[in-house]
C-alpha cells in the first residue's frame, strides 16, 4: 500500500518539494509503525499522500508544445476527411455510441429518481417513521401501523421529539360535489403535525388550523382542480365524502412523486372518533430535535411504554417501538417497511448502463485498431515530417474525443425523444432536466470518459508504427488480433446474459399466469360491494339473469396478498397450540362456483347449525398430521368479550389452492360461514356462461347502481385481476427485453463493422478462391467460423453467470421455474443467429461479386 502512495506522490508532486515532503512522510511512517501497526501506518501514509494533492504542491502543468490551435484545426480536418471517406464506419461508431449514451442517460435518470425518494425535506435527517412491534404470547407482529394515540403520547412524554404526526387510511372515499361524483384513491386522515413534518406547502388555507376541526378536508392541487375551476374556488366549499358533509379548508401543492407517501386528499384526524390504544391502523411520524440519536430514543420509548403501562406483561402482551429513517423507506429491503423500490434492480440497471457503454466503446476500439492500416500512410508521413509519438497518440485520442462528444450530443437528443416512452416502460416518472448543471457536468464527463476509454488503446497502437516500415510498403499487423477477439467475446457474453435473463423472466411470468391455482378463475366476474347490506338483494337479482350461472359472496379477493385476517388458533384435542391461519368468509355456493376440490368430509350446508362449521385446506391438516381431521375442533377468539373463545368444527377438507400470492407457499387456510367474521370488503363472484358478455356486465352494473346509490361500481374478471398482480414482474421483463435488444444490436453493429472490413481486405483472396471453384457456402463458412467460435465461448462464460443471477431472482418466488440448459442454449442460439445474419449478409454480398472485377487490376 505504501508503494502505491510513493508512486502517486512521485507522479504528481512538485520536483522541488518532493524530497523533503517524502522525508517527512517517511519519518512519520516509521514512527507510526512503532506506535501502532504497519497496516495502520501504511493507510495513514496513503491518506497523507492523497491530502497532499494541492495546487501549491503539484507539478506545474506543462502544456506540451503540440497543443496549438492550428494543429488542432489540422487534426479536425484529418478526422473529418477520414469520416467522410469511410462513412459506414463512422456511422457505426457514432450510432452505436449515441444509442448507448442515450440508454445510459435514461437509466441514470431512473436510478437517480429512485435514489431521490424522500430526500427533498429540509429536515430529512430528523424525520422518522415509527415501527410498532408487539408480542402476544409468542406471536410477534411488526408493522408500521399502530395506535392513533402514539403520536400525541410521544410528543407529550419525550422532550426529544419536536413534532409527532400521524395518518390513517381513509377507506375508499367517493366524493360528490353538485353533479360530480367520483372515486378518489389515496385519501388519508391526517393531523396538522403531519403536514408540518412532511413540509407540505399550503396554496390556500391556513396551515396551522386547516386540519383542526372535524370534517375538514385539505385537497392537493390536482384533486382540487378535478372538482373546481381553479384552486381558490375550493376553499369553504362543502363536499360530500361518503355521504358525509365535509368542508374544504385548504389546498396544498401536489406531493412530489418521489415521496413514499403521496396522498391526494387529507381529512382532519379529529374526524375519527374512535382513536384508542386498541384501535390500530395509524402510522406515526416523528421529527426529532437536532442531534438526537435514534438508539437513545428507542430506550426512551421503552421507558415510556413501562411508565404508561402500555403493555400487559401478565397476559403475555408486550409492545415496543423503534424509529425508521424516512429517507430509507423506499429502498428498504425490510418487507415491513413496504418500500416500493428495489435496490437490486437499481444495481442491475446501473450495471446494464455501464455495460452498454462499454460495448459501444469496444466497437470503437476494435474498428479503430482493425482499420489502422488505412491510416498507416498518414501516420508515416506525419512521423517523417517530424511528429513525435505523443502528437500522433494525441491526434487519435482527439479523434475519439471528437466522436464521443458528437455521440453524447446525439445521445442526449435520442434520450430526450425516448424519455416519455421510457417513463411508460418503467412506470417511474423519472424525467431528466437537461438544463440541470449536474446533468451538464455529467454529460461532459461522459463524453471525456467514453472518448478516453475507447480512444486510448487505438492511439497507443497507431502511434507505435515505424515510419520506415510503413513507407516501404509493409504494413505491420496492427493491434493484437487476439485482444480484439477477447473484446468481442466480452460483448457477446454480456448480450447473452441479458438475452437469457429476459427469456427466464418471461418464462417465469408465463408460469405464474398459467399455473393451476387449484380454483377456477375463468369466466368469473367479481363485483366489489360498497354497502354489505346490498349483498342479499343483489345476489337474487343477479341470479335472475339468464347468462349468470351462479353467484357467491366472499370477503377474499385472490392474490391481493391479504387474506382478510390471520388468527391465533387452538386445538382442543389434547394439546393446544397457536398458529396463524388465513381465513375467508364465504357462503354455500362458493365451493362449487370456484371449483374447489373436496378431499374429505362435506361442504358447508344450509342448516343453521352450519354456522359453526369450517372447511380447512390440506396444508393445515398436514401441518398437524391429523389422520382424521373431520370433527376436530378449532377455537378462535370470538371478539365478544375479553378472553372468550368460540369453537368451530372441521366439516370438510379441500385440496390446496393458491389464493394468496405465488411469492409464498400455500398457507394454512380456513373458510368460515359465520357472518361475524365477515369483515373487510365484500365481493360478489359471478359465474358467467360467456354469452352476451357486454349485455350481462351492463346488467350487473345497472343492478348495482340501482340498489347502491352511494358507491361506485367496481367490477373485473378474476383472471384479469390475477394478471395485474404480476404487473411488477411484467415491467421488469419489458425493461430487460428493451435493453437486451439494445445490447445485442450494438454488439452486432460492431461485428458488422469488423466483418465488413475483414471482407474488404480479403476480397482478392475470396475472388481467387471463387476462381478456383469455391462456392458461396464455402466462403460464408470461411468468414464466419471465427465468430461462431467466439460466440460459443461467450455462451460458455455467460452460462454460470446467468445461472447464478437468475436463481437468486427466482428464489424470491415460492413457485418458480428452474433455469434449464435449454433456456441457456436457446439464448446462445438467438445471439448466434443474429450475429450470423449480420455477418452472412455482408459475406454473401462480397462472395457474389464477379471475381473478374476485383482481380483485373493485378
Amino acid at each position: 500500500m505504501k508503494k502505491i502512495g510513493e508512486w502517486i506522490l512521485s507522479f504528481f508532486c512538485n520536483k522541488d518539494y518532493y524530497n523533503d515532503i517524502r522525508g517527512d512522510l517517511e519519518e512519520l511512517h516509521t514512527r507510526r509503525i512503532k506506535e501502532t501497526s504497519r497496516i495502520y501506518a501504511d493507510f495513514k501514509y496513503l491518506i497523507a499522500v492523497v491530502m497532499l494533492f494541492r495546487l501549491s504542491l503539484i507539478k506545474p502543468f506543462k502544456f506540451h508544445f503540440f497543443l496549438n490551435s492550428s494543429m488542432i484545426n489540422q487534426y479536425l480536418k484529418a478526422s473529418a476527411r477520414n469520416f467522410s471517406r469511410h462513412k459506414a464506419n463512422a456511422l457505426i461508431n457514432i450510432f452505436g455510441l449515441s444509442v448507448a449514451v442515450a440508454a445510459a442517460i435514461l437509466l441514470y435518470g431512473y436510478v437517480r429518481f429512485e435514489l431521490s425518494y424522500d430526500k427533498g425535506y429540509d429536515n430529512k435527517e430528523r424525520i422518522y417513521r415509527v415501527n410498532n412491534h408487539s408480542n402476544f404470547r409468542g406471536r410477534v407482529r411488526t408493522g408500521i401501523t399502530g395506535s392513533g394515540l402514539l403520536a400525541p403520547t410521544l410528543e407529550g412524554e419525550l422532550p426529544e421529539v419536536e413534532l409527532a404526526g400521524r395518518r390513517h387510511h381513509f377507506s375508499r372515499p367517493v366524493i360528490q360535489f353538485k353533479e360530480k361524483k367520483f372515486k378518489q384513491s389515496l385519501a388519508y386522515y391526517a393531523d396538522p403535525n403531519l403536514t408540518k413534518i412532511l413540509e407540505y406547502s399550503y396554496l390556500m388555507g391556513d396551515s396551522e388550523s386547516a386540519l383542526d376541526a372535524p370534517n375538514s378536508v385539505v385537497l392537493t392541487k390536482t384533486t382540487a382542480l378535478k372538482i373546481f375551476e381553479n384552486e381558490s374556488d375550493a376553499i369553504g366549499k362543502q363536499l360530500l365524502v361518503n355521504q358525509v358533509a365535509m368542508q374544504v379548508t385548504g389546498v396544498i401543492e401536489d406531493i412530489p412523486a418521489n415521496n413514499h407517501f403521496t396522498p391526494s386528499m387529507l381529512v382532519s384526524m379529529s374526524t375519527m372518533s374512535d382513536i384508542s390504544w386498541d384501535r390500530v391502523g395509524t402510522i406515526t411520524y416523528v421529527l426529532l430535535k437536532n442531534g438526537i440519536a435514534t438508539t437513545h430514543i428507542a430506550d426512551k420509548m421503552s421507558e415510556m411504554v413501562e411508565r404508561l403501562e402500555l403493555g400487559d406483561p401478565d397476559n403475555g402482551f408486550s409492545i415496543w417501538f423503534d424509529l425508521y429513517p424516512i429517507t430509507e423507506i423506499h429502498l428498504s429491503k425490510d418487507k415491513n417497511q413496504h418500500g416500493k423500490g428495489n435496490i437490486n434492480m437499481l444495481y442491475a440497471l446501473s450495471m446494464v448502463a455501464v455495460f452498454i457503454l462499454l460495448i459501444a466503446c469496444i466497437n470503437y476500439m476494435n474498428l479503430a485498431t482493425a482499420r489502422s492500416s488505412l491510416r498507416a500512410k498518414e501516420i508515416g508521413v506525419r512521423k517523417v515530417a517530424g511528429a513525435i509519438r505523443k502528437q500522433i497518440s494525441f491526434q487519435f485520442l482527439f479523434e475519439s474525443l471528437f466522436i464521443s462528444t458528437l455521440s453524447v450530443a446525439f445521445g442526449t437528443v435520442i434520450a430526450l425523444a425516448f424519455q416519455n416512452g421510457f417513463v411508460q416502460l418503467t412506470g417511474v416518472p423519472a424525467t431528466i432536466n437537461f438544463f440541470d448543471k449536474e446533468i451538464f457536468i455529467l454529460l461532459i464527463g461522459l463524453a471525456v470518459a467514453v472518448g478516453i476509454i475507447s480512444g486510448s488503446y487505438p492511439s497507443v497502437i497507431l502511434s507505435s508504427f515505424k515510419p520506415v516500415l510503413i513507407l516501404k510498403g509493409t504494413y505491420p499487423t496492427m493491434g493484437s488480433q487476439s485482444l480484439r477477439r477477447v473484446l468481442v467475446a466480452f460483448q457477446f457474453t454480456i448480450s447473452i446474459i441479458l438475452i437469457v435473463s429476459t427469456f427466464i423472466v418471461y418464462q417465469q411470468i408465463d408460469f405464474l399466469l398459467n399455473k393451476d391455482l387449484g380454483f377456477n378463475k375463468e369466466a368469473v366476474y367479481t363485483v366489489a360491494l360498497g354497502d354489505p347490506d346490498t349483498n342479499g338483494v343483489l345476489k337474487q337479482k343477479y341470479l335472475q339473469h339468464p347468462n349468470i350461472k351462479g353467484v357467491t359472496s366472499t370477503n377474499l379477493m385472490p392474490a391481493t396478498g391479504d387474506s382478510g385476517a390471520t388468527f391465533t388458533i387452538q386445538s382442543e384435542e389434547g394439546e393446544t397450540f397457536q398458529d396463524n391461519v388465513s381465513m375467508a368468509t364465504v357462503d354455500n355456493d362458493y365451493f362449487s362456483l370456484m371449483d374447489l376440490e373436496l378431499v374429505q368430509g362435506e361442504f358447508l350446508d344450509t342448516s343453521s347449525t352450519g354456522l359453526n362449521f369450517i372447511i380447512v385446506n390440506e396444508t393445515l391438516v398436514n401441518k398437524y398430521g391429523w389422520e382424521e381431521p373431520i370433527g376436530k375442533f378449532i377455537s378462535i377468539p370470538s371478539g365478544d368479550e375479553e378472553g372468550s373463545m368460540e369453537r368451530f368444527v372441521i366439516q370438510g377438507v379441500v385440496k390446496d389452492f393458491n389464493m394468496l400470492s405465488l411469492y409464498q407457499d400455500v398457507q394454512p387456510f380456513a373458510f368460515f360461514k359465520k357472518p361475524k367474521f365477515n369483515w373487510g370488503r365484500q365481493y360478489l363472484f359471478l359465474k358467467l356462461d360467456g354469452r352476451n358478455l357486454l349485455e350481462t356486465i351492463t346488467y350487473i352494473q345497472e343492478q348495482f347502481e340501482l340498489f347502491d346509490q352511494k358507491s361506485i361500481f367496481t367490477g373485473s374478471f378474476l383472471d384479469a385481476h390475477l394478471e395485474s398482480v404480476y404487473r411488477k414482474e411484467l415491467k421488469t421483463a419489458r425493461i430487460f427485453l428493451v435493453f437486451a435488444v439494445l445490447t445485442i444490436t450494438i454488439a452486432c453493429l460492431g461485428l458488422f463493422g469488423l466483418a465488413t472490413f475483414s471482407l474488404e481486405r480479403r476480397i482478392k483472396e475470396i475472388s481467387i478462391r471463387k476462381v478456383l471453384g469455391a462456392n458461396i457456402g464455402n466462403i460464408v463458412k470461411l468468414a464466419t467460423t471465427e465468430f461462431v467460435i467466439i460466440i460459443l465461448i461467450s455462451g460458455l462464460i455467460a452460462a454460470p453467470v446467468v445461472f447464478y443471477l437468475m436463481e437468486k431472482w427466482l428464489d424470491g418466488f415460492s413457485y418458480h421455474i428452474d433455469v434449464t440448459l435449454m433456456t441457456l442454449i436457446s439464448g446462445v442460439l438467438v445471439a448466434l443467429t443474429i450475429a450470423m445474419l449480420t455477418v452472412s449478409i455482408q459475406t454473401i454480398r462480397t462472395a457474389r461479386t464477379n471475381p473478374a472485377r476485383t482481380l483485373k487490376y493485378e
Binding site: D24, E26, L52
Partner: protein, 111 residues
C-alpha cells in the same frame, strides 16, 4: 505597500516556526501544532502553507543533515525572515488594536 496578509493557519505555522527556533522542519512543526491545538494537521496542509509562505518571503529554508529515519533524506529547516516578522507583528498589532477598542461593557453583557 507590501502584502503582509496572513491566514489563520499560516499565522499559527509561522509562530510555531519561531517557537521551535533552530529546529523547525516538517514533522517537528506538525507535532508542535498538534500538541497545541489538539487537532490533527495533515502533511498536505502544512507543506502547502510552508511553501506558500516561502514564496511570499515570510520564511526561508535550508537543508539539514541526513537521518536514517527519513529514508536517507535531508530535513529542510525553516526560519523566519524579516518580512515574516513584520507580517506577524502587523497581525498582532491589528488584533491588539481591536482588543483595546472593545468597550468593557460588551463582555459584561455576555457573561
Amino acid at each position: 505597500m507590501t502584502d503582509y496578509k496572513l491566514g489563520h493557519f499560516e499565522e499559527i505555522v509561522l509562530l510555531t516556526v519561531c517557537v521551535l527556533h533552530e529546529n523547525a522542519y516538517g514533522v517537528s512543526i506538525k507535532d508542535e501544532i498538534e500538541s497545541r491545538i489538539k487537532k490533527a494537521v495533515s502533511v498536505g496542509a502544512l507543506q502547502s502553507a510552508l511553501r506558500r509562505m516561502e514564496k511570499k518571503g515570510f520564511l526561508e529554508s535550508k537543508e539539514g543533515e541526513e537521518t536514517n529515519a527519513r529514508g536517507g533524506r535531508r530535513k529542510r529547516y525553516f526560519t523566519i525572515t524579516n518580512h515574516g516578522k513584520k507580517a506577524l507583528e502587523e497581525a498582532k498589532d491589528l488584533r491588539m488594536d481591536l482588543w483595546e477598542s472593545i468597550p468593557q461593557v460588551v463582555f459584561d453583557q455576555v457573561s
